[in-house]
Amino acid sequence: MLKNIPLSAAIGLIITGTYFLAAIFAGVIAPYGMAEAVGDVWEPSSAEHWLGTDQIGRDLLTRMIYGGQTTIFIATAATILSFTTGAVLGFIAAVSGGWIDQLMSRLVDLFMSIPSLILALVILSSIEATVLTLIVIMGLLDSTRVYRLARAVAVDISVMDYVEAARLRGEKLAWIIFREILPNALSPLVAEMGLRFIFMVLFISTLSFLGIGVQPPLADWGGIVKENKEGINFGIGAALYPAVAIATLAISVNLIADWILNRTTSLKGGRG
């Protein structure tokens, strides 16, 4: 299946793969310690410091690598949480129908009517922002979107004759959800997962930029922008590196998601 990959998807895979590998092996490949001040303030790039140093003299490449680790880890964990919660609840609503569906859907509507950034700001102002709380808050807020998609997809599938056949056989809810519906709902969900992951990266970066996300001295991309934004006034480009990283990661994950969607929604053959 890895033959015939279109060029765009190959580029996406390479860039995304590089970011993830860098995040996983951050401790091995980072040239300096994460919070170690090794040079002057805002040094230009040099042989020792490829991307220069930041506002208190830490190596920017090291900060970027560790920042990527934090950002990608939080975004991944929150995406997984939002998908498991959203998809399972969405499937249950679609299969059960009736008042269970009504109750859950209206509750989700209620949460979706409040902008998620505002809601996150309110919650984070009352509890302490740790990596764990950030993941839980972001994951649960985003699961409302996944719930909507999963429910819509599952409603279409649950009226198929094979689901009716399973009901007539006397199958329980768990079999219908995980064996009949899930395999057929997977391709739109996987493609959506790519997009939601990117939203998560943007979300955590926004929170950190506003100062209520990942707390110093831990590095993350949004935080690096915040710490170095003053440098732009002096012609220092340090704040732009994380911006470029976020943009390239977003584009490359999208390229992969597009490819998966194209490949698996083909009606010919039916299994991807």
């Binding site: 198929m160 004759d161 094979y162 009716e164 056949a165 009901r167 007539l168 056989r169 006397g170 199958e171 064996r179 009949e180 395999p183 057929n184 083909s266 010919k268 053959g269 039916g270 299994r271």
Partner: protein, 544 residues
């Protein structure tokens, strides 16, 4: 010699296929077909699905559907080749010289526009008529096609007319620009038999009166025999036989054509009713949120190991009866007794034993099987679920069932997408049999299949009935099927059982008016049948 209106020589059509698990590759689906069509004549193209008949029909408009390419040969309309024509010339051809009537009028009309606007669109766009002339012509055509209130029906929206009427509107649409050739692609296949006959008559008269030539594509030889002058039999992209309608029907030369003509030659000895396994008493039912009953006081019995055929047109309530028996739609009134036990009205409260002994087979085998499960999983699940079979025991039983439905080994690991239509329906039968049921509800199980394949399925079902002693509740609109397999028959009309009894009782005159209409509407492979029937009917069909 004059050039014929349509001349097809060595037509080859190819397509790219994407089989699961393999590389995409090109195949040829029509392998060099030749034929001529004179002005004002009708040629019937007949064959099973995949024979290439629709593809050939569309090729006369220089069109290939979904990645289909015209790879060789010539198609000349009025002496000009349309395959090599420029896009500009093709645009002038379509909707002006050649027009098309598709199978599903409901899916082909734009639901947001009035019928008239759509009927005259091509004629006005092609500059053949002014808007007012085109509208006048459309009204004349509506009248000619026997549509009610021809002066005003064009102002309606597509959902405001019946299926049979919409199909006639589509014929008016095709005839409106005064084309030289109309391609009819299964125009009556989606209609009830009683409606089909009127549409067929309207189309036949319209073709005769306007002097247009037509290609009539269908899989039903009896239908095409009524309208066409010549018939071409196709199989897997090749011509099997070509001749006058009389010759093809009465003296087919090729073995394949003979098989098509003699299809439904199954005979079944009627059994006498005994103590019933299923007793439906005084069932009245309606759908949630509606205020009328779709079933009124329905009473039928079914004896063990026998077949009860429930016949009627769409909307007669026959599928609703199946939903009530399976418990998907709890009735408002009445009781269902199954194997001596009274069934609870709603399915979730039924015992595992009740669920197991009452199985169902669906019309569309495609949607009745999970596309992501293998045949082994599909058949194996009931074994595991009802009998707790595991491992080798389960595998052996799956193989036994596959043998019973006449599929060999090697099918276990296939996915539904890798099976043909007939094979899919066989797997669904095996899934039902796996539960060792006393009763199987068969909901239009053969109506989506080609005649020869359907025949195979019916033979299989009869055979299995002898071996397993299972009863069938057979829902169908096809009376030929009923004659072939039923022991008793219930004729349903507007939610009521109109006539009920053993097969010989129901099919012996005197008939009530509806049963007469239904029985007489089944196309027979006989020239002039259509005119005889229309002349002798007691009752108008509901489609009017």
């Amino acid at each position: 010699m004059t050039t014929p209106l349509l001349q097809v020589r060595g037509l080859k059509i190819g397509a790219t296929v994407y089989p699961p698990g393999e590389k995409p590759h090109d195949i040829e689906i029509v392998h060099g077909v030749d034929f001529d069509l004179e002005a004002g004549k009708v040629l019937g193209l007949i064959g099973e699905s995949g024979a290439g008949k629709s593809t050939i029909g569309l090729a006369t408009m220089s069109y290939g559907r979904g990645g289909v390419e015209l790879t060789g040969g010539t198609v000349k309309v009025n002496g000009r080749d349309v395959i090599s024509a420029s896009a500009r010339d093709i645009r002038r051809l379509r909707g002006a010289e050649v027009t098309y009537v598709s199978q599903s009028a409901a899916a082909s009309f734009n639901p947001a526009k009035r019928i008239m606007e759509q009927v005259i669109e091509a004629a006005v766009f092609q500059g053949k008529f002014s808007k007012s002339d085109a509208e006048q012509r459309a009204r004349d055509l509506f009248a000619k096609l026997g549509l009610p209130d021809p002066n005003n029906i064009g102002n309606r929206y597509p959902h405001q007319v019946s299926g049979g009427q919409l199909q006639r509107c589509m014929t008016a649409l095709a005839l409106c620009p005064e084309p030289d050739l109309v391609v009819f692609d299964e125009p009556t296949t989606a209609l009830d038999v009683t409606t089909q006959i009127d549409v067929l008559k309207a189309i036949k008269d319209a073709i005769r009166d306007t002097g247009v030539a037509a290609l009539y594509i269908t899989h039903d030889l009896a239908v095409v025999a009524q309208v066409s002058d010549h018939i071409m039999v196709l199989r897997m992209g090749e011509m099997v036989e070509y001749g006058t309608t009389d010759q093809i029907i009465n003296a087919p030369k090729e073995e394949y054509t003979q098989a098509l003509v003699s299809v439904r030659s199954i005979t079944h000895e009627e059994k006498q009713p005994t103590e019933p396994v299923l007793r439906v008493e005084n069932i009245t039912a309606r759908y949630k949120g509606t205020n009328f009953d779709v079933l009124h006081n329905v009473n039928v019995d079914l004896s063990p190991g026998q077949t009860l055929a429930v016949v009627g047109e769409s909307g007669s309530g026959k599928s609703t009866l199946a939903r009530v028996i399976t418990g998907l739609l709890p009735p408002r009134d009445g009781t269902i007794t199954f194997a001596g036990r009274t069934l609870t009205p709603d399915q979730p409260s039924r015992s595992l034993e009740d669920l197991r002994e009452l199985q169902m087979i669906y019309q569309m085998a495609d949607t009745a099987m999970n596309p992501r499960q293998t045949v082994g999983t599909i058949i194996g699940r009931p074994l595991e679920f009802y009998f707790g079979l595991k491992g080798a025991e389960k595998q052996n039983r799956i193989q036994e069932l596959l043998d019973e439905i006449e599929l060999g080994s090697g099918f276990q690991d296939r996915y539904p997408a890798e099976l043909s239509g007939g094979q899919k329906q066989r797997v669904c039968i095996a899934r039902a049999l796996a539960a060792k049921p006393k009763l199987i509800i068969c909901d239009e199980v053969t109506s989506a299949l080609d005649p020869l394949v359907a025949d195979g399925i019916l033979k299989l079902l009869l055979n299995l009935q002898k071996i397993e002693d299972v009863a069938y509740l057979f829902i169908t609109h096809d009376l030929a099927t009923v004659r072939a397999i039923a022991d008793s028959i219930a004729v349903m009309y507007q939610g009521r059982v109109q006539r009920y009894g053993t097969k010989s009782e129901v099919l012996t005159p005197p008939f009530d008016d509806y049963t007469d209409l239904l029985l007489s509407s089944v196309p027979e492979m006989k020239l002039g049948w259509l005119e005889d029937v229309i002349a002798n009917r007691k009752m108008e069909s509901a489609g009017n």
